[in-house]
């Protein structure tokens, strides 16, 4: 059973990935997020996904984390394949299974002519899922190899307002506590006879029963915490210092340069290619670029 802690808490080790500057990690994550949105070529998307997965090898992640990653990827890819198998709207498409027949009263009409599983949609979904899978894998790699304090330090150095960073630190710090409280309240509710998984109004009633005591604790805690941090001169000065200074190594600078340059280049080429395919702008000088985008991006 995968527990929430196995997802939420980083594994601190001394590897090349762990040593990376959090700013480099965040910039790389943002750059890769833009790259996956720009790409359309399945082979290139697969290479990028495998490259990201390859990052877990030097990070020496524990088995539980790898299992979690595998489980999440499986769910994600399955979900995208399933939804696209249903909604695929390109030709050719081959019906392999009928979920709702067009003749079925009400549902046939409601779904505008039935609901089918299309063979080509399954393949299309698998390819498109690579985008989400790449971002999810890289995000988890970054999250699992970075202490939240370092991550937030990195965000602050990237001009995220300190107060916001503080709020996120607070949220991260209290996440295990809130999860534990929710689990306790659910256990108590069950003992009282509630069924948390009962569909419909029962779920809402249970949610209200769980959220009220959990949030009441949050409200109480907020008061105490506010007094505590104000007594430590929170927001007393416009600028503040940090115990741990972040320094970018040559490796970090190289990673930032490569990923950002790659993202800018790929996005620029794809914009030009899309302008061409949309019959908006064409230049004979860019024919090589169009060909490159068509075959590799």
């Amino acid at each position: 059973m995968i527990r929430a802690r196995s997802i939420s808490e980083p594994t601190i080790k001394d590897t090349i990935i762990h040593r990376m500057d959090p700013r480099a990690k965040i910039i790389m994550l943002v750059a890769v997020s833009f790259i996956v949105v720009a790409l359309d070529n399945p082979e290139t998307m697969l290479i990028l996904f495998l490259t990201v997965l390859g990052g877990f090898i030097p990070a020496k992640m524990p088995l539980i984390k790898l299992k979690t990653l595998g489980f999440l990827l499986l769910l994600l890819i399955w979900g995208t394949m399933y939804s696209q198998a249903l909604f695929y709207s390109q030709l050719p498409r081959t019906v392999i299974f009928t979920i709702i027949s067009p003749d079925l009263p009400f549902l046939g009409w409601f779904t505008h002519g039935g609901l089918f599983i299309y063979k080509e949609g399954i393949h299309y979904g698998a390819v498109q899922a690579l985008r989400s899978a790449t971002v999810l894998s890289l995000g988890l790699l970054m999250g699992w190899t970075t202490d939240p304090r370092d991550m937030l330090n990195g965000l602050v150095r990237l001009k995220i307002p300190y107060s916001v960073a503080f709020m996120v630190v607070t949220a991260v710090r209290f996440l295990p506590i809130v999860i534990a409280e929710v689990a306790t309240v659910v256990a108590v509710q069950r003992l009282k006879g509630f069924k948390p998984t009962k569909f419909g109004y029962g779920m809402i009633k249970t949610a209200l029963g769980i959220l009220t005591p959990t949030l009441a604790n949050c409200v109480r805690r907020a008061g105490v915490l506010a007094v505590s941090i104000e007594s430590r001169a929170f927001r007393a000065n416009p600028t503040r210092t940090y115990l741990k200074e972040l320094r970018c190594s040559n490796f970090d600078i190289a990673i930032i340069t490569i990923t950002v340059s790659l993202a800018i280049a790929i996005i620029s080429v794809k914009i030009l290619f899309n302008l061409y395919t949309s019959e908006v702008y064409y230049s004979t000088y860019l024919r090589e670029i169009y060909a490159f985008a068509r075959w590799y991006l």
Partner: protein, 520 residues
Amino acid sequence: MKPILLALVLVLLTLPLSTAQDVGFAPEEMFSFSVQVPYGAKEGGLAVQGSNLSAYLFVESFQHGDMDVRVHLDLPDEFEVKDETVQMFRLHTEYDDWYRFIDFHVPPDVPCGIYTINTTAYIDFGDQHEIIERKTTLRVASKNEISDMISIVSVVIPSDEDGVGDPSRPENSIILQEASPFINKIKKIAGMGDSNEDVRVSYVGVEIENNGDEAVPLIVSYEILDIKTMQEIGEFKPTLMGMSSKTFSYSNIILPARSSKVVGLPIYTTDSVMGGEYLLRARVTVTGSNWDAATSDNKITAISRNWTSVVVSLVAFFLSITTIGIFVSRSNEIMNSFKTRHLVMISLFGTASFAAVNIPMTFLWEISHAVFGPFSFLFTGIFYEVILYMLIVAAVVLIPKPGVVFLLLMVRYLLNGIVLGHFNPVFLLSYSVNAIILEIMLYAAGTTRGNMDKLKTGLACGVADAISQYVSFSLWMVLYRLFYSDWYLKANILIDGFIYTFIGAWLGIKLGSKLKKVVE
């Protein structure tokens, strides 16, 4: 003098005779008479065994006055004539004309070879009687001979009206029109829309070559087929001005001997055409026959773009960038307007929303998809809408100020990124748009100004989330190239976006009121 006078008398006497002789005309000056077998072939024609053809007869008068004409078309006995071969008519004035198509059938078992066709016109004009003969030849060839003679050299998609390829447009592709009813309505309102719903999108250029020694009457056409089933896609042949576009998308040509020609044919489409891969089959048939003398199959891609989603995504992008930019540039001012206790409370509500919604839904989302299929939103909406909005509205009840929703959703997004790795541009834009619209709606409803009206707050949240849902789906469709059916989008927006959110907001006020007692 006598001889001179005698000569003069002789001239005067012979003058009426010469004048009378000048009244008669040469036949070619009296009228024009032409024969084309088959129609269109000005020289020797060509027919394939088993074809139905028409001979074309044309007569035009160049004289004033009644001209009686009898035309006799003498077709070889081997041919089956379907009309009268003898035609009689009268032309009344100068440039009055007459024409007829005489249909005949060339049976499949007719021996191949060159057949001579004689046509005779008998003309009575006043006292003048003329007979004119025209001799044409028709070569009857077998299918094999025609196949060797006629070939499709190339098919260019897209091309211009003349069939010439345009390198500025992607090869073997056609760009489909916007399929969005929303954009179509705007176009119509702005007067930019085509009054006809069916729109021509492109041209295909077909180059045909004739290696034979006769001019060949040909029909060049195309059909677009499903690449798997090879069934013709009707949407590419819509009805235009009350007629099938098949009427417009073919070309009738006479291809001279030893020549080639490029023909441009329009490609039409309707809104219901889907993007994807198709097979465009160019066809060349000899006039009068249904048999394809040459075909050429070409794989084409129909590129469909939902411009509404693209525009919505662009608006969401600029809205988010602007809002985030304003927030970052004025962050001190904004954050200082909140007490430390409020910031802590918002972050804890962010944590609670993350723990109660994001973490369970990471697993339940896909599992519910597997169990409930496309109707899983009825289940997932309980978390994503009811519980989430209970938390958001409860936070607003406790801190009734503009900016609370924005901060709460920002914390939730950053937590989602740091803990679950969901630093995803779609999430960033969705959360931003959701926060902006919700802030505006709650301010308009008075909720963030301290007026806690359950109905107004519920409606504000419902409308805001319905819009956010639409934006979110548009982002997934554009940035992650995913497909969603219209009914699915509408059901999600109505049930999840509006109804569930309304319930969540309603309950959120109740929850907030309870928590307020804790604060007090």
